[in-house]
Symmetry: D2
């Protein structure tokens, strides 16, 4: 089958690989109908993710159809239309029992990382019963691809951890796909204002269409002042960090109001400065989180009831045999204005 | 000054009464610019509220302008444009310190009940610093009259106590002004659906305009079945009781899903049956609450930021000298289709 | 194998029955080393539990040793020493994913009810991976028998739902085994006082030994007055109902302070009066719950660290072949002063 | 009156100063019966607290008797025996209304900092109604001196923010008075274990007497390893930082388990490194807080009901005229083994 394979730092190819098989009774094998590319896939390709060995099929997002289900799978049958979670959860370990699937002792983020992923015609999904979600009849497949990772990440790590509440002021630093997912899902809670901060004017314009009440281009180094002006000098109740570098985290430290929360979503490669000499007395909370995807059922309901339209994050479409072009487009987002790109599976075999 | 005075069961009059004075340093005297009539005022007129003695000026809602401020008032000055809370809070007692202003040991709901109220040209407000809220420049006065009582009641007693959450199913039993206030504020949390239940077709139509996703006329005695059909047999996560009689509370018991909440808002005059022989094992929560108005600052922000438009609850306007007509219109709501009626204060003296 | 079998209302016998087998891959079969009798078993014997058919082996509590594990069981192996949860949880359904195992769509309370239970030499446990807990080396088996049902029931339905907090006042109505389990686990949160209320003087004396700060014999019909005196006229922050009849629920309604919680634990056979004509404005919360046993890992840690000694609830010991005597002793608790009776399994076969 | 006065970095004296007067109607003047010295007072004396001007009477803890009450004070009368909160709260501003008294816009930590404090015969207390607490008859004055600052600080900033729960593992870095206050109040929640970490063997021994289940001397630089061994490799659910330097904060980062919380209590003078390159995916929470003293009523109840004995933190006693000796003893804690020192007021004038 056609598969996008990581061949070590800087190298990838569309290879032919055997269709995966059931290996343990709790596995399912799916035909992938739609997948997408994540910023994390670009990190892997840079060589930044040591857990991902060369030879790995990438991809941890997508929807598909169950082709085979192991004997231990009780919730799904061949032919079922399903959403793939980026997190594999055994459902049994201490972490899974607490709803912290991201730290499942034998699962977590393994798809397209420690095991082969979804950017292929077929994929094997471990712990199928607790890692797949049935797609309701009539649901929009493309919208649901956004529910594999990006929506729960923005929502759980940013919005829920950030305790967004009606009437509050929110700032989101980073208007990439994850920041925009936080922007969309923050609106579930009717904050008084959502300020989007980024360097890219196009993304700031997109933010306004998606519900931002104000935008700040941080290119001039005066974003803290701008946010203070927009909040009457108080700062924001919730600052969501959706970039992953010291400068953006520091910006969050500068704009969070006393009693507020910094919800970190960004994947950081280096330590940051925490200014406790100022913040020790500010009654703030800082949270970190790898998405648990515990809110997938909730998000499915919000999509089904029309409270959110995740398709607004999709800018491009490709077929699987053109996935290298998709990577190129996604990788040059500043010039292509790409947010999320949909990769359509091969026609039914 | 002109004042709407309760003269015992069934009797009221527009009397002339002296303008109130500051009695203790924490008082303020306001000129009332707008007030309204509450269902509770009708209860008083029926003789159902023993704490309210004949001779009392009614009314516990409104906005106004500070005319005089006692020497202990530090947050307001004459000329300040303010919102009156229906709850007077000393800010010092154990209950106030917990945010349970409704049970303030020397305050609570006293306006238009134990002391003279707002349906007059002027009103004395005890504990002014902690019972009034500054009205932002440019705010709509009529919208804010809804924040004295009806919005915080629907929000605190119904929506917050009912733990309305994104993706959840909500039912509101009773589409009167309070039920509709719950309907408006429930949408702060993006539930998947809100089912309004009432006997009055006009109010159900209003509900649809205000955001209900389904309506059920309970006149046929089959409302439980209807709600079960609308929820795929599960029942609702949140049932808000906004009427105050045994039949409507029982309806809530019949439609609440396992794990769900019944949030009582209605003022009950008699006990109800609690079917613990069925519900003991259903993991449900039942809450009661007299509004605390702790969310008034939050609600002000949602109005100012356009997340909610409380004017949609206003159907009629009267001047203070026509308040008897206003009572008549409000009292015959089924035929007049009245929801909230605005009473405009006399022109500036 | 020897088994205590229900033969219809009023009838039970110690019968010989075949040793159970693995029926689906997620099952385990255990040799029961210790079990006990629950008040619910007496309800079944009265014919009050329609889901339990004649011919059923009773019992839903106990510890044992894994004899056989189905091919889908990954967390346990033959020889493992395990605690049996009274609730069987599939770990996959929507309720289990929310931690509401009591409402597992294919499990819940089925042991000794819809399927054969633990009052036998062997028992089949469905969903073994998510319904058994490994017993730490050196742990006291008898203490852990209390963790199958009684401790999590008192803790989850009473203490957690009742929001017991440091400095608060708690009343527990009913000093039977469940009420005493609530008494023990309430002390995890250091309330200022715990008032135990019962008709049985012996149980009230036991309560004092187990940590009650005051006791009230409700035989004189003046328990409300007594509790009000003990709480300076305020009432209690938490009232735990651990009996299951209208009189005791009404008592809770009479003693709960404004802002307080009534946590129902009792199994009710009939409706109760809810005095909303008084309580609608008291800002109270009422909860119901069938135990979910989600706190079993937490409780295991508190037993292991010596924060609680559940053996204090055990009054009698019997071997399995004398289980009919055990039922007799437990059934006449008023005269035998029985609380929990331990049934020791047959010697190793 | 005798007063301990700060005269600039390194300088203090026991001066004679006029007895304070009521300046605004919400003030009270107290005769101080007992006070104490805080580590913060030593910081002031080093010149580290720029808000505290030379000439200031130090001290923000104590108990006393109301001598005069302003005309706006309604909760206290001359002769009342009261506990002084280290935080002055107006009770009216947005922060006070949220229970964040530490950020009261006209109060907060001002006593012995921006206004004269309690290390004198008399002290003026602003916002008396909301900054003093009545001492119950028969209460131990010395115990209650610990409730001015140290107990609420350890409890609110450490234990509550750290979400200490039954069965959890807690580490407290720093066994000074504040760390020990956290140790005492953490036991309200029955954690499975509390590991105290310090360099001072005497303080570690005190910790064991006060309830620590393990102690680690971090002098060898291997504290992380030691904690990991004590927690089976998991780390702790709650790490409380009670020192205020980068090394101790980093230690907390090293020992917090996935899903755990670092509750900062220490007053930091410099930034720290936050290792987001490791922690971004660990689902942790970090909190900071200046004590709000919102839990003072709760703590009073726990002292009155004997759940905690704060006198165990007191090591020395002095009279006010020997306060310079008291400072000397407290300042050389390593050799004097001082924890909290009680300063007794002058005999009644």
């Amino acid at each position: 089958m056609k598969s996008l394979v990581y061949h070590g730092p800087g190298k990838k190819a569309l290879d032919d690989r055997p269709v995966p098989e059931i290996t343990v009774p709790t596995d399912a094998v799916l035909r992938v109908t739609k997948t997408t590319i994540c910023g994390t896939d670009l990190h892997i390709l840079k060589g930044d993710v040591p857990t991902c060995d060369p030879g790995r099929i990438l991809g941890h997002e997508g929807v598909g159809v169950v082709e085979k289900a192991g004997s231990g799978v009780t919730a799904f049958r061949p032919g079922d239309h399903v959403l793939i979670s980026c997190i594999s959860a055994c459902g049994k370990c201490e972490y899974c029992r607490k709803g912290m699937y991201s730290h499942c002792t034998t699962g977590g983020w393994i798809l397209g990382n420690r095991i082969d992923g979804t950017q292929a015609e077929y994929v094997r999904i471990p712990y199928a019963d607790t890692s797949l979600y049935k797609i309701p009849a009539g649901a929009d497949e493309e919208a649901l691809v956004m529910l594999s990772d990006i929506l729960p990440t923005g929502f759980e790590c940013g919005v829920l951890n950030g305790k967004v509440q009606p009437g509050n002021m929110v700032a989101i630093v980073g208007a990439g796909p994850i920041g925009l997912a936080a922007l969309l899902t923050a609106q579930f809670y009717s904050p008084a204002g959502i300020i989007m901060i980024d360097l890219d004017e196009n993304r700031l314009q997109v933010s306004q269409r998606l519900g931002a009440t104000a935008t700040v281009n941080s290119g001039d180094g005066k974003a803290v002042d701008a946010v203070m002006r927009l909040t009457g000098g108080y700062g924001v109740d919730t600052a969501i960090e959706a970039v992953g570098i010291p400068a953006t985290f520091n910006l969050c430290e500068g704009i969070v109001a006393p009693g507020g929360t910094i919800a970190n979503v960004g994947v950081h490669g280096t330590k940051v400065d925490l200014h406790l000499e100022r913040l020790w007395s500010h009654n703030i909370t800082i949270t970190t989180r790898l998405v648990d995807t515990v809110t997938t059922p909730l998000l499915l309901k919000t999509v089904q009831s029309g409270k959110i339209d995740p398709r607004r994050l999709i800018t491009h479409h490709f077929t699987l045999d053109r996935i290298l072009d998709a990577y190129d487009t996604f990788g040059r987002a500043a010039s292509t204005q790409a947010l999320k790109v949909i990769i359509e599976g091969a026609a039914r075999i």
